[in-house]
Symmetry: C2
Subunit: 584 residues, 2 copies
């Protein structure tokens, strides 16, 4: 089930939580719901759906995004009043799932629908707690624990999304030795011992925050250079614009697919943190502090350089350091922690990174030595009686790319070998680029791998492009499904796994929308879906907690700028701090 969880997990990262706004002059139509708006939603819904039996539960509350044209017209008229604020609410009432749109300006319900399809909204935390407590009151379960000579108090039951597991066999309980990863419980020898560091930005951070805007002064996203800036809201991470020529990356809002717990990422010493909010089962906003952070990365990378020694006798050498902006959230999905980074490089490249860490899902076995294993145990023996099971992680990104406007096309740049016909030529063949524009969804389904084309999203009516530069993920080669899809924008198609994914039969998924309809996508407002897949074969080195496994991909400007947008950048002043070994 993990794959299904993680498939949908990404969406909630920047969507399930409403990030607390820093002081902002004006509200953006995509600003997240504020705590008071959450409360207003609760009041309106509870008044409209009186439930004497107290069986009204809020499964999900989020901003209902205005239609795209509304947002765009608002963007094109700076200072204009924001469109009405609306909330998307999913409730369970009298054993039915309802889908409600609440108008927060008119204090009224705009629409409600009872969901009659297969599947349910995800369990709330309260429901999960209740479910986890049930087995301990179930006689056969209690007996099975006794039969294993265990104390009920030592047993913890957790909920995953519904799935048949089956099999009630008895295996030795793995020993706890070596499984505690808390620093406070470690015994010497400690180490390795990374040295401490001091880091400072005398001029302050290179980005400015205004409400949910982040402006990266150090990047080509500043308006005086390239007409765009970075804006972050709970529903989207976006590079918007007030002039022509822009990249717009929208992350659709998503429903609550799994209760992840974002947590402080107290790592970078120049990070700015945001709090997040989500609705509890009773509709009351729950605060999560430091759910998301933003910091600048000085990783010692070279943004660009060249040494020219062929012109006359002088040696021309120019080097520029790269200082990128990272927006990060960590989501804990059961045993695994997902580090989701959006890295904005000064040259306009956006690197979408995923770091996979946390603890492995294990199961008990009778084995204590790998050599004794003669059957397929579906995993790796990590310690005595402990198998780390083979599993998958699929993360699907929803990228509503508007490259220099909404009307975009998806172009595959195929690199083809051409045989030379000129007899005199010593070169028998060469490769060239043959571009192919995808006319339908079917033509845009791509399995990344060998001989893959360059994938480019372009505004066919203008002369700028954004290349989807595949940086590829760590174990991507083993990924077997199409991992690039393109669909025409459709407000109701946001969640690759569907809105009511729990126990659903998959009738409301990306595959169904796309395969059945195979719509036209040329010169339209298109959405690009990119799936990162990990087939994870656990290893001892990952026990009891795994070193981060990283993957990702890049969106890279491709003939988007008329020349290198960071040519005239100034090298940052890098000053060594106390006792810092430095030279040259």
């Amino acid at each position: 089930m993990e794959s299904m969880l993680t498939l949908l997990m990404f969406f909630l990262l920047l969507s399930h939580y409403a990030f607390s706004p820093v002081s902002s002059d004006q509200q953006h139509p995509l600003d997240p719901l504020t705590p008071s708006e959450f409360s207003l939603v609760r009041t309106i819904v509870k008044k409209s759906y009186p439930s004497p039996n107290r069986n009204l539960t809020f499964q999900y509350i989020s901003l209902d995004e205005p239609d795209k044209p509304t947002i765009i017209s608002w963007l094109s008229n700076p200072g204009s009043t924001s469109p009405p604020r609306r909330a998307l609410v999913t409730i369970r009432l009298e054993k039915e799932s309802q889908y409600i749109i609440v108008d927060l300006t008119a204090n009224s319900i705009i629409s409600d629908n009872v969901y009659l399809g297969h599947g349910y909204p995800l369990l709330t935390l309260d429901e999960q707690d209740a479910a986890s407590a049930l087995p301990e009151t179930y006689e056969p379960f209690i007996k099975s624990i006794e039969k294993r000579q265990l104390n009920l108090s030592d047993v913890i039951c957790t909920t995953y999304t519904a799935g048949r597991r089956g099999g009630k066999y008895i295996v030795p309980v793995p020993k706890a030795e070596g499984t505690d990863y808390r620093a406070s419980t470690q015994q010497p020898p400690f180490g390795p011992h990374p040295n401490g560091a001091t880091f400072g930005q005398p001029d302050g951070p290179g980005f400015k925050i205004d409400g949910h805007n982040i402006r990266h002064i150090g990047g080509c996203y500043t308006e005086d250079l390239c007409p765009s800036y970075l804006r972050l809201t709970w529903t989207q991470l976006r590079i918007g614009t007030t002039k022509p020529s822009s990249i717009v990356v929208n992350l659709a809002s998503a429903n609550l697919q799994y209760h992840s717990s974002p947590s402080p990422i107290a790592l970078s010493i120049n990070a700015v943190f945001w709090d997040a909010y989500y609705a509890g089962e009773d509709g009351v906003p729950v605060n999560i502090s430091n759910a998301l952070c933003s910091f600048e990365r000085y990783a010692g990378n070279i943004m660009w350089r060249h040494t020219e020694s062929e012109i006359s006798d002088e040696v021309i050498r120019e080097v520029r350091a790269e200082v990128s902006l990272v927006v990060r959230m960590v989501a804990v999905v059961g045993n695994h922690d997902y580090i989701i980074d959006w890295e904005f490089k000064p040259d306009g490249t956006i690197k979408l990174g995923v770091g996979l860490t946390g603890v492995l899902e294990v199961k008990g076995v009778t084995y204590t030595h790998t050599d004794d294993i003669r059957e397929d145990v579906y995993g790796t023996l990590l310690a005595n009686n402990t198998i780390g099971i083979y599993h998958d992680h699929f993360l699907t990104y929803y990228l509503d790319l508007d490259v220099d406007g909404e009307a975009n096309s998806f172009v595959k740049n195929n690199l083809e070998t051409i045989r030379t016909t000129i007899q005199s030529s010593p070169r028998k063949s060469y490769w060239t680029v043959v571009s192919e524009t995808a006319k339908t969804e079917g033509e845009a389904r791509i399995q990344l791998g060998l001989n893959q084309p360059e994938l480019i999203v372009v505004n066919p009516n203008k002369k700028t492009k954004l290349k989807l530069g595949i940086m590829s993920d760590t174990i991507r080669g083993a990924f077997t499904n199409n991992n690039v899809w393109v669909t025409p924008y459709n407000k109701s198609e946001k969640w690759a796994g569907g809105a009511f994914v729990d126990q659903s039969r998959g009738e409301d998924t990306l595959a169904v929308w796309s395969l059945i309809r195979n719509r036209e996508i040329e010169n339209k407002d298109i959405v690009l879906w990119y799936t990162i897949g990990f087939h994870h074969v656990p290893s001892q080195d990952e026990f009891p907690v795994m070193p981060t496994l990283s993957g990702g991909f890049e969106l890279r400007p491709n003939n988007f700028f008329e020349s290198n947008p960071v040519l005239k950048t100034r090298a940052p002043t890098l000053v060594p701090g106390p006792n810092c070994t430095t030279q040259g």
Copy 2:
């Protein structure tokens, strides 16, 4: 030709130059030649090969590595005297190429051979300068320049390795506007403006340098934790050991395939720099200052983390910051600059990264607008009359992996889908790992891409492994040759393109050794060859100097450690510096 250049370019990066040793108690058999040893070689050779006509030229001088058993026995007897020092010398004498082994201890020539095969050693810088000056004295060339209304003084001829170019057509000379990338010549508006930063390590850097040793205290390479340390010499970047259980990564020494010019990488403010030496045409050692550097990377990455909230009511959260050691060299090969990084992560992962920057190779055309182009111009129009030509970059890594000893095997972990036969099972299929050990070179040739297996180098006689975790390079999907090869160790097989590659016919290359002999490689001392390939389609955003395009791959411990080697690491003390925005 660029592909051929770059194919071979990598080898000289850590090989062509002898890195100046920092004070060392004892010389390692693989220590680079010292300046005085260079001079001694010169003296011995000149004495042995008197050339009254002064036509003896030194094409290449490097350490002649002792045989591997000699090195290993020396390693196993700390303090034992180093084996005799020898030098490998390539000279041109009386129009012949000679291959000489010099004994620096006995001050004598051990062997010399006249090379009778096809191909020549690469041109020396002096030869290139001479060649570049020739056209200006050649009447037809002078006339062709006049015909173009150009001044001879405005024309620069450069040498690339021999290759037929052909075609003498006249095109407008592209204007110079916008091509000067020097900061000193830029006009306002400047920007983007990355903010300055101060960085300090109050306890000093987390690595210690002793001669050509680098010990990364902050990584699991310290002996008390995992019994290995990092040693760097001109011929190898190596993690050696004084105890069992070790990873040894050797980079073979290489001949001078192209005159790259490493240059200061004044970027990281906590970097330590090395100088490098190579032999001039006259045999005199030439110093290159700051040719290589080493620094610790605090990129804000998370080494591992987990938030556990399912156990009782307490929330357990542990986070560790990653501080990795980077060893970097930049090689300028004509128009391109290659940033070669070896990143040693604390958990034992070695990330081999390549950054491609510099200026694009361009050619003149009559076109000034992309729309006017109706033919295949083999490139992208970057500016008026300027085409950035399609080209390739291939970098081949020679990795003499000794995983816990020399006897290793190359294992492919294929992920295979198994259909379940149990009717009652709701699960119809699952995937599992089917391991396959390559018995011959042929079975180890792999084209990376879709459904690629996990590639693992293992000591079949012991229980440790090193996984070659493919991180994959940016445009790798388009790479069409086998990019993983495995050969049995053979001292004479070090340079994928051969020792005398210039104008050779490819009879002394990796492909020939491997395809013809198809040797056995199971449970043997094996060498792994990994090729990173870029098919580069230039874009305007890369003009006049290109933002760095990055790729690489990872070597990751795989059941090498019995558990997470950085579990007991201490979080580094990260202290905010002056005016540093910080929180949480």
